[in-house]
């Protein structure tokens, strides 16, 4: 029997963040060049939430990003591009058939997957994290060609493995979610209104929601909690909790420092698009400095994790640093809020 082979000509580019990388690659495939930071910014990727009573991997849940699929949905929505998102498919076989049909029609398709059983993924990142994204762009017999933007090169995965990760269970289960862009983008897309809408929404997410666990308020809450951890849980657990914060900020495909670098790059690109808009460029500079502060914070925290029982850095100092970062971030968002375009 001849092996059936369908491989779409799709360029894989490595990216810092899985979903915005996938989104930017999908846009490029459909004839519209857009960088990763731009996709991330227009798609409202930036967020912060701290949920102390919900434990992920034995430590409180911290997220630096929005809910899964926000980036793709918002960016296509704001730009007015015809895209399809299938939220939930009950039957796994049917989900795979849908994927095959898409591939035969020549549409690379994004899928939400769980990381834990993803065969090609680096072993140190195999945790129960169900918000990962990859793009399937080819099928060869029983193997699928996938482009995972966290990896340097495209990867191969078998039918059974792909099915398993697409139906991984647990918190935020993917349930076979898939998305794709329907048409080649031939009209001239005006990014400016999309950027304005996206910045407004992000600013509102970070400082406009009157709930203490979201946005800058959540960051402050976390800073105050860090101070209490050693007394409340003992040194070992406190250092593990701190490690979770750092892992969420630096690893897990954030491009470093909890997406703040990517967002700064987005602001810079947006500023250049608006004919060197002074306000946006200044905001980008401030965001860059905040991100550098974040990196200093993670570096300090990591030294704490190195020696669990005798922490080198005081948790009080770390907490103060984080409060300082929260103040700086708040200034950025307030500046963005008052901008006139």
């Amino acid at each position: 029997m001849e092996i059936k082979k369908t491989i779409i000509d799709y360029t894989h580019r490595q990216a810092g963040h899985c979903e915005s990388g996938a989104t930017s690659n999908l846009f490029k495939f459909n004839g519209f060049e857009i960088s990763e930071p731009m996709a991330f910014g227009v798609g409202n990727g930036l967020f912060f939430t701290y949920i102390p009573f919900l434990k992920i991997q034995f430590a409180p849940m911290i997220s630096f990003r929005n809910l899964p699929n926000t980036v793709f949905k918002r960016s296509t929505g704001y730009m007015g591009i015809d895209a399809t998102v299938v939220k939930k498919i009950k039957d796994p076989r049917e989900a795979m058939e849908m994927l095959d049909r898409n591939l035969e029609r020549g549409i690379p398709t994004g899928c939400q997957v769980g990381v834990f059983q993803l065969t090609f993924f680096p072993p140190e990142y195999r945790m129960h994290y169900n918000m990962h994204n990859l793009v399937v762009f080819g099928k060869e017999g029983n193997m699928y060609h996938v482009s995972d933007t966290v990896m340097e090169f495209p990867q191969l995965i078998t039918y059974d493995d792909l099915l398993r990760v697409r139906y991984a269970k647990g918190t935020f289960a993917p349930q076979g979610k898939m998305y794709w862009i329907n048409h080649v983008i031939d009209k001239q897309v005006d990014l400016k209104p999309a950027i304005i809408l996206a910045i407004k929404k992000t600013v509102n997410d970070m400082i406009g929601i009157p709930f203490p666990l979201i946005g800058v308020a959540g960051l402050r809450w976390l800073a105050r909690d860090i101070k209490k951890w050693p007394g409340k849980h003992g040194n070992d657990k406190a250092s593990f909790y701190l490690g979770q914060v750092l892992r969420m900020a630096e690893d897990f495909g954030t491009g470093g420092a909890g997406f703040r670098f990517i967002y700064g790059a987005f602001l810079k690109e947006a500023g250049e698009l608006f004919n060197n808009h002074q306000g946006l460029l200044e905001a980008s500079d401030m965001m860059g400095h905040t991100a550098n502060k974040w990196r200093e914070f993670t570096y300090m925290g990591a030294r704490n994790c190195k020696n669990r029982s005798k922490p080198e850095e005081d948790y009080g100092t770390l907490s103060e640093r984080l409060l300082e970062i929260a103040d700086k971030e708040k200034m950025v968002y307030q500046k963005l809020k008052n901008l006139r375009f």
Partner: protein, 131 residues
């Protein structure tokens, strides 16, 4: 690729791939670099994996001593907590916790065992003993 391994990891199965990260220099330049983990990443990942390994070893000892059922060992091995396990296996939380007792585990029906085996991605025979 072989001589290209990351020197900071003693265990060569970790840290063998390069990731993209951003940085910011004064003067408004965001730069992309592709490279291995830096010191910070290595420390926090090492800490997490040390803890997970401790927990797995601890669970293994308890199962061998007859104080816990193999479900506990496989739960730790798959980095799960009881709530996640109950979601993955489709068994309610209090029943999952009830099955942590070795005597209860011995009397489990084949159907329940099958549910656990599917959640852990192993066979029923493997589930009955620890490796």
């Amino acid at each position: 690729m072989e001589e290209n391994y990351n020197p900071v990891y003693k265990d060569k199965s970790y840290g063998q791939y390069r990731e993209l990260s951003y940085s910011y220099q004064d003067g408004g330049k965001f730069e992309k670099t592709v490279g291995f983990h830096d010191e910070t990443d290595r420390l926090v990942l090492q800490q997490a994996w040390d803890l997970f390994r401790e927990r797995i070893e601890d669970a293994r000892q308890r199962v061998l001593a007859g104080k816990a059922s193999p479900v506990v060992y496989y739960m730790e091995k798959n980095l799960l907590d009881p709530l996640n396990l109950s979601m993955m296996a489709g068994i309610s939380l209090w029943r999952v916790k009830w099955h942590f007792k070795p005597n209860v585990f011995k009397r489990l029906s084949a159907k329940t065992l099958q549910k656990y085996a599917e959640a852990f991605n192993i066979t029923i025979d493997q589930l009955k003993k620890v490796d």
